[in-house]
């Protein structure tokens, strides 16, 4: 194919690769640890893709994680208090997040640049503190909510094992990726890019920039709400700090490290960073291996090597003290 044709084929090839990778993973391993990591990657990818949608118009929305929280709390309460099914609250949670995004987005989008960044940060803190400090009987207050049920039955399939939940998240994620990639390669994506570079020029060309940005805000919040509902029924516990500054910052880091200029940036960033953080966690496993070795070595060793073993043990102690 000619270079131009390759370029035109990029979205299809990219989507095919992601779908293939997501679909092939359970064929390679069904170890629950790897499935958990893979599910986390897909959940993060859903979030970073929807965050990138807003970044593509120049908004750094620090309240993005809050809409995930709104979806999560909505679904958790509707399932545990009202008794609705997960399959209904999946949509209700996302819709509530999108509906609340309309007034919040309308307010926040009146300012831009660093002010937008800060006002959305303020919003996210208001939402987090609201869940943490108000209506403790409902939201669980500082101790959060526990015992939230797994998704349960749909068409005779039972969604409660790691593998089934992985498939569920994979389907949600692939649908979101397909939709957002197609959007990015369409006229919509071009407009978003133009707005980021020169919103005044786009405004003079007859595009309602405010409404356009609000659309990306609401759409992104819908997807975040979707991810939030899955998150809460996957983890089964819920705490207001799950939607605070730290996870939000990770979301920004994942997206920015991959690069925000391309729709594929979050994909690369999310996969690399999630795996990197899991590998760093592996260091602790290394520590356990070290302990076993030391115990084995200590049994019958001459004095010459004894101090070396002691040094190793001291290193492990230091490791324990500071890294765990």
């Amino acid at each position: 194919m000619e270079p131009r044709q390759w370029e035109a084929a990029t979205p299809a090839v990219g989507i095919a690769l992601i779908t293939l990778a997501a679909g092939a993973l359970p064929l390679v391993t069904r170890d629950s640890y790897y499935l958990d990591v893979a599910t986390t990657i897909l959940m993060n990818l859903t979030l970073t893709m929807s965050f990138r949608l807003q970044v593509s118009t120049g908004q750094i929305n620090m309240a993005h994680i809050s809409f995930m929280g709104i979806g999560a709390y909505t679904s958790a309460l509707l399932v545990t208090r009202v008794g609705l099914s997960f399959w209904a609250t999946l949509w209700i949670g996302a819709l509530v997040a999108a509906l609340l995004a309309v007034p919040i987005g309308s307010v926040a989008l009146r300012v831009s640049g660093p002010y937008y960044f800060l006002i959305t940060f303020a919003f996210s803190e208001v939402v987090r503190l609201f869940f943490n400090n108000f209506f403790e009987g409902l939201f669980g207050g500082p101790s959060g909510l526990v015992g939230i049920p797994k998704p349960g039955r749909l068409f005779g399939l039972i969604f409660d094992g790691k593998l089934a939940l992985y498939w569920l998240m994979a389907v949600i994620c692939v649908v979101v990726v397909v939709a957002l990639v197609r959007l990015d390669y369409s006229r919509f994506g071009l407009t978003a890019d133009a707005i980021r570079q020169a919103d005044l020029v786009v405004e003079t060309l007859g595009v309602n920039v405010f409404r356009f940005k609000l659309t990306t805000f609401v759409l992104g919040s819908f997807v975040a709400g979707l991810a939030g509902v899955f998150f809460v029924h996957y983890r089964q516990v819920l705490h207001s700090s799950d939607f605070g500054l730290e996870p939000m910052v990770l979301l920004v880091v994942f997206t920015v490290i991959g690069g925000t200029g391309s729709v594929w940036g979050p994909v690369v960033g999310t996969i690399l960073m999630t795996i990197a953080s899991e590998l760093l966690r592996e260091l602790h496993r290394l520590d356990d291996v070290g302990r076993v070795l030391v115990t084995a070595m200590k049994r019958d060793l001459g004095l010459a090597t004894k101090h070396r073993v002691d040094a190793l043990e001291r290193t492990l102690d230091w490791f324990d003290k500071y890294l765990k």
């Binding site: 660093p114 002010y115 960044f117 303020a122 919003f123 803190e125 208001v126 400090n133 920004v252 920015v256």
Partner: protein, 286 residues
Amino acid sequence: MSIELLVQALLNGFGLAMVYVLVALGLTLIFSILEIINFAHGEFYMLGGYVTYYAYALFGLNYFATLALAILTVGIAGVVAERLIFHDLRGKALNAFIVSLGLLWVMQAGAQLAFGVLDKPVPSAFSGVVRLVGLVISVERLVVSLSAIVLIVALYLFLRLSRPGRAMRAVAQDPDAAALQGVNIDAVSALGFGVGCALAGGAGGLLAPVFAVSPAMGALPVVKAFIIIIVGGMGSLPGAVLGGLLLGGVEGLGALFMGSAAVSILGFAMVIVVLLVRPRGLVGGA
């Protein structure tokens, strides 16, 4: 409800507001010179707290000498941070945000390794209370507030009258024009960042005896400082003072009428309202 109760609530609110204004002034100075938001600002405050712990609580240095030492040490740390990290990030808000968050984590983890994770208590330098027409004010908070006010006035005079201060204001207005007039932008940026951090260090030194010193102590003042500079207007010195007084007043009265759980939300609610009415803050310019 008596008028005295209201005034007392306001005074309680204002109690530490001036110290948070110090933190906010550092942030706003750095923002106006380098056009970046330094999220690790609270960690420089934390550094000031540890200098105070070691010099004052352990070594037994005089309270005010310790304060000067904290300001100087953290100022130098700020200059180093600018030269090593923030120098090339002028105007790149998103990159600077990520980098400063990285610095925040590195400094917090570094403090945990170097100083331990536990809170370290710093004894109060002043005790007792002052009674004035039915109002009660703790001497410690009075000294802390007055020291903060002295530092704010010193900063104001420095920016108004001294040559480096005027160079900073010139760079804040227009870096290119300032460079054309012979202002050394690199030196001014480093100095500005250093002065901004020094203010945070001073605030940390002032509050170390009020709260305990810990690696995570920087989070609270920096959040308050954000509220103050958004409300007052970024880059504005009088705005920061006004924002601090407003936040203190709102929190003081909020604690009286609504209880402490609701107070945490009030500051942010104020930010949203102010940005809606005056998107550039109360005193903010263009």
